[in-house]
């Protein structure tokens, strides 16, 4: 199948496979991500969905927002579930019971269902080499159950289970770097994306679908309820996340790291944190150390990524 051109005018004419009428919160990043992912390709897609905001809000009773075959079974097993669907497809095609229509398989999960409770199932499915893509919409906490901390929650964030208290001011730990962990599985394609950079996101989806085997994409997904921001800040914040290098856009293809969008000017992390109520206490007098620690972590991660990006290139800056 030829990869379709990413022109807004053309994309807008395409058939919508994720419909309006779902009950996601206004301004949520997740449905924007799902739309961009599905819009990027014309391949037939079958998706599984971990329990979470996206799942509970898109298929309620006799209504579904999904015009693709879709399955939710539980919280921790979107990867295992879609691996079963993929295995059945493979089996029936192999036996000549159905025709090979180049179906692509996606598992969608939030950071809770991906970084934490679904981590084992994800790791297993990736190791087994299913021809599937796992997409994590990372909003940095268990938003569906009411903003509890996850291992994706950034350092210092105020959540309902790590509140900014008098003794412990928010989440004490840095976030788990899941994209890197997935790359360590040796799978052919890992990428980070942001809905603000829709072209970059969709190109990555297109690229991933041309690669056989397990793929993983981690996509930042602003949540105005959990991040304590205005309703219409999702795109602004997902851009700031990239510009501050909090959420670098890169891909690791067959072990080679490439930064796909390098901010012209790296902005201070505070620019990303300041508009979010969950970091408010970090700007209070006496908590300067928190901002400093958060910035140092982002800097170190970014420096490492730059080195890795450079290591795969020759002197002229071309990828080797």
């Amino acid at each position: 199948m030829t990869t379709k051109p990413l022109k807004l005018k053309e994309l807008a004419k395409g058939e919508e496979r994720f419909m309006h009428g779902h009950r996601m919160c206004a301004g949520c990043g997740a449905p924007i991500i799902v739309k961009q992912v599905l819009m990027a390709t014309d391949y037939p897609i079958i998706a599984s969905n971990a329990t979470g905001c996206l799942e509970v809000s898109t298929c309620i009773q006799q209504y579904t927002a999904w015009k693709i075959p879709w399955i939710h079974s539980a919280f921790e097993n979107a990867a295992a579930t879609i691996s079963g669907v993929e295995a059945m497809y493979k089996s029936l095609v192999k036996q000549g019971k159905i025709e090979d229509k180049q179906v692509k398989f996606i598992a969608f999960g939030g950071d809770g269902g991906t970084y934490d409770i679904g981590f084992q199932s994800l790791s297993g499915a990736m190791e087994r080499g299913h021809d599937m893509m796992y997409i994590c919409y990372d909003n940095g906490a268990y938003m569906n159950t009411g903003i509890q901390r996850s291992s994706a929650t950034p350092f210092g964030a105020n959540t309902t289970t790590c509140p900014a208290g008098d003794v412990i001011p928010g989440k004490p730990q840095q976030r788990k770097d899941l994209s890197r962990i997935m790359a360590a599985h040796g799978i052919p394609y890992v990428a980070q994306a942001s809905p603000a950079h829709w072209m970059d996101l969709m190109k990555k989806v297109q690229k991933a679908f041309e690669i056989k085997g397990p793929k993983f994409m981690n996509i930042i997904s602003p949540c105005n309820r959990g991040w304590r921001t205005r309703t219409d800040d999702a795109i602004m914040l997902s851009k700031l996340a990239v510009d501050t290098c909090y959420w670098p856009l890169y891909e690791i293809e067959n072990g080679v790291t490439k930064i796909t969008v390098k901010p012209k000017e790296k902005k201070p992390l505070a620019d990303f944190l300041k508009p979010q109520g969950r970091f408010k206490h970090m700007f209070a007098p006496g908590n300067e150390w928190m901002l400093k620690q958060a910035q140092e972590y982002v800097d170190a991660q970014w420096e490492r990524l730059l080195r890795e990006d450079a290591s795969g290139k020759d002197e002229a800056g071309e990828k080797v």
Binding site: P44, I46, S48, N49, E55, V56, C59, I60, Q61, Q62, T64, W66, K67, I68, P69, W70, I71, H72, S73, A74, E76, N77, A80, T81, I82, S83, G84, V85, E86, A87, M88, Y89, K90, S91, L92, K94, Q95, K97, I98, K101, V103, Q120, S121, S123, G124, A125, E127, R128
Partner: protein, 392 residues
């Protein structure tokens, strides 16, 4: 007539799966079921079956992958025991609630703690309310026959509900017995072609599986699930009738042994029924009217039919190879439920036996029958629930 072989219960079940040739199996090894899927893996790698084998990283993922595969639209099987079934627990309800006819040999084993790998029914009884059909087998032949029949029952278009086919860990799974295999072509013909209902792989008619359904309709969904279960006995009997035509081997919802004119009876499931039958013969020789009832279909439980079969009995001992701590044994509770519909109720006692693979010996059956003789005479029950075969 098929080939007569000397095989273990696991080997017989692996053979049945080979003959059925499921489209997908997803499994994780656990003692004593390991050997079953291990043998099946050999069939896969030797090209004897078309099955896509998904070797997952846990039983939770095994059942999750089975759910995905079954929803995709094809024949699916797995196997497990004990802790493996316990880890699947969440997904068992989802498989049943989603009406996916997954088949699972359950090699019954004790649950930890303390850790024990040997046979008892704690695992199966813990899955009693999951919405799965449960069929219990006495020996390797029954495990083989039940496994083949279970596909027809579970996949029946009126049922479409997952089924577990149980056999006692080690006692049956690892003991070599005489088993009569059915010819490959006959098994294939008996089980028939899989009919997919609402498959995910039907791209032209996209389906959503696993919706959120709250207070307004959840209750109705659950009643519908119950109603489906009430249809299982009829289907199980139809399938058994076809099976008898093919093999000459007769199956019912339960088996009775010398029960017709019995005054005392033992109700016991699985391998212990074999030992009990021998002792009943001895007591019959002594002129004592003893009989046995061995449930085969545990879920759904045929209350009325069992009540009818036991209605003339004066005293009943229900032997449970599992316990509900602080309650009566699970099988005893079912038989009590059946007895409720009788006009004249028999005296009943409950014996917990054989936990963690403790041998069930002939003298235990004798002890129970002696007690029943006394109770039938006096009508007095001194101790309703008691452990037998305990080292004091």
């Amino acid at each position: 007539m098929g080939k007569i072989v000397a095989v273990t219960g696991n080997e017989a079940c692996a053979q049945a799966l080979k003959q059925i040739n499921p489209d997908v199996c997803a499994a994780y090894p656990i003692t004593p079921a390991t050997d079953l899927m291990q043998r099946f893996s050999g069939f896969v790698n030797d090209g004897k079956v078309d099955t896509e084998l998904v070797l997952v990283e846990s039983e939770h993922s095994a059942m999750s992958a089975c759910i995905g595969a079954a929803a995709a639209g094809g024949r699916v099987a797995t196997a497990t025991s004990s802790q493996g079934l316990a880890l699947m627990w969440e997904m068992l309800y989802i498989a049943a609630g989603s009406r996916l006819p997954i088949i699972m040999p359950l090699v019954n084993r004790a649950l930890s703690a303390p850790l024990n790998i040997h046979g008892d029914h704690s695992d199966g009884m813990g899955a009693r309310d999951t919405g799965w059909i449960q069929i219990y087998s006495e020996n390797a032949q029954e495990a083989y026959d039940n496994l083949i029949q279970s596909f027809r029952i579970a996949e029946h278009l009126d049922i479409r509900t997952p089924a577990m086919v149980c056999m006692d860990g080690f006692i049956v799974s690892h003991s070599i017995e005489r088993v009569e295999y059915i010819d490959d072509a006959d098994v294939k013909n008996f089980v028939g072609k899989f009919q997919a209902v609402h498959p995910l792989l039907d791209l032209d008619n996209p389906k959503s599986y696993g919706p959120l359904i709250l207070t307004d309709l959840y209750h109705e969904y659950k009643r519908a699930q119950h109603e489906v279960m009430t249809k299982v006995p009829k289907v199980a009997l139809e399938v058994a009738a076809d099976f008898e035509k093919m093999t000459g081997r007769k199956y019912g919802l339960f088996e009775t042994y010398r029960l017709e004119d019995a005054e005392i009876a033992i109700v016991v499931m699985s391998s212990a029924a074999g030992t009990t039958k021998d002792i009943i013969d001895e007591y019959r020789d002594k002129g004592i009217k003893a009989g046995l009832l061995k449930p085969r279909l545990f879920r759904p439980f045929p209350y009325l039919e069992i009540a009818d079969a036991l209605k003339h009995v004066k005293a009943i001992a229900v032997l449970d190879r599992a316990d509900s701590f602080g309650g009566y044994g699970p099988l005893f509770m079912e038989i009590s439920g059946a007895v409720m519909s009788m006009d004249t109720k028999p005296a009943m006692i409950n014996k917990i036996f054989g936990l963690g693979g403790r041998d069930y010996l002939p003298d235990q059956a004798e002890q129970v029958l002696d007690e029943l003789v006394k109770i039938a005479k006096t009508g007095k029950v001194e101790n309703v629930k008691e452990y037998i075969g305990v080292r004091e």
